[in-house]
């Protein structure tokens, strides 16, 4: 066995195996971001409603807020200085229930 063959077998083959394993480890997961409690987790805040109101699964355009935030929009539309009726959100505010927890 020549020197070249020896080097290829005893250095080249292990190096190739290491390269394959390293490639699988670092290239395998498309998203490296995974939530682990206690570690900082960077993401864009999201807010979901169900899409049941959308017929045949077609999404509304992003600007269409027929299901969302009508109360706030109506309040904003009131002329300045005019108090109008008490904001709709104020009434249920004291009556909200629910629960809190931490982990």
């Amino acid at each position: 066995m020549s020197v070249l063959e020896t080097v290829l077998i005893f250095v080249g083959v292990p190096a190739a195996v290491v390269a394959v394993v390293a490639g699988l480890v670092y290239g395998g997961s498309r998203r490296g971001r995974r939530y682990r409690p206690g570690r900082p987790f960077e993401f864009t805040p999201v807010w979901f409603l169900s899409s049941q109101a959308q017929p045949s699964g077609v999404g509304y355009p992003a600007g269409d807020d027929r299901r969302a935030v009508t109360g706030a929009a109506e309040r904003a539309a009131l002329p300045a200085g005019e108090e109008g009726p008490e904001p709709a959100a104020a009434a249920p505010h004291g009556a909200t229930g629910g629960a809190s927890d931490r982990w």
Binding site: W47, S51, D65, P92, A99, D101
Partner: protein, 144 residues
């Protein structure tokens, strides 16, 4: 986009897109598969209970409870809505039920759902915890 700019919830994940064709929601904490599961859970819960379930995942300002209630108040019909607000970095979770919802979903049941959600979150499973929570809340709220 920051929490402050998040003025309204996305109605369905696909609609929350930008002109570039890359939906902003994909920069959120969930994979596409998890988003589909979440969407399914929300749709089932809404349909079976007649209430509106909504999920917010992001930072909550102090005082946390007030911020969650403010978000809840921004929904179309707060009285008949349930908001699950989850802040993974602050490691806290708020469930807000409206006046009408509260009759069907007592705080005790909400707390029970919160406990199981927190257990899943503690294991690092955000999507699973939320799906479990929604299913449990819908179950307790009963049929419409």
């Amino acid at each position: 986009m920051t929490a402050g700019e998040l003025e309204r919830p996305a109605t369905g994940q696909v609609s929350h897109g930008s002109v570039t064709g890359h939906p902003e929601v994909l920069d959120g904490p969930f994979t596409t598969r998890q988003l589909l599961r979440l969407d399914e859970a929300l749709r089932l819960a809404d349909r079976s209970t007649g209430l509106t379930f909504s999920v917010y995942v992001g930072e909550l300002d102090e005082p946390v409870r007030a911020h969650a209630e403010k978000l809840h108040g921004q929904l179309a019909d707060p009285d008949r809505s349930v908001l699950l607000a989850v802040s993974p970095n602050q490691r806290l979770l708020e469930i807000v039920t409206g006046a009408e919802t509260r009759k069907r979903l007592p705080d005790r049941d909400a707390k029970l759902a919160a406990l199981s959600m927190a257990a899943a979150f503690g294991g690092g499973d955000l999507a699973g915890g939320i799906v479990t929570g929604i299913a449990q809340l819908a179950d307790h709220a009963g049929r419409r």
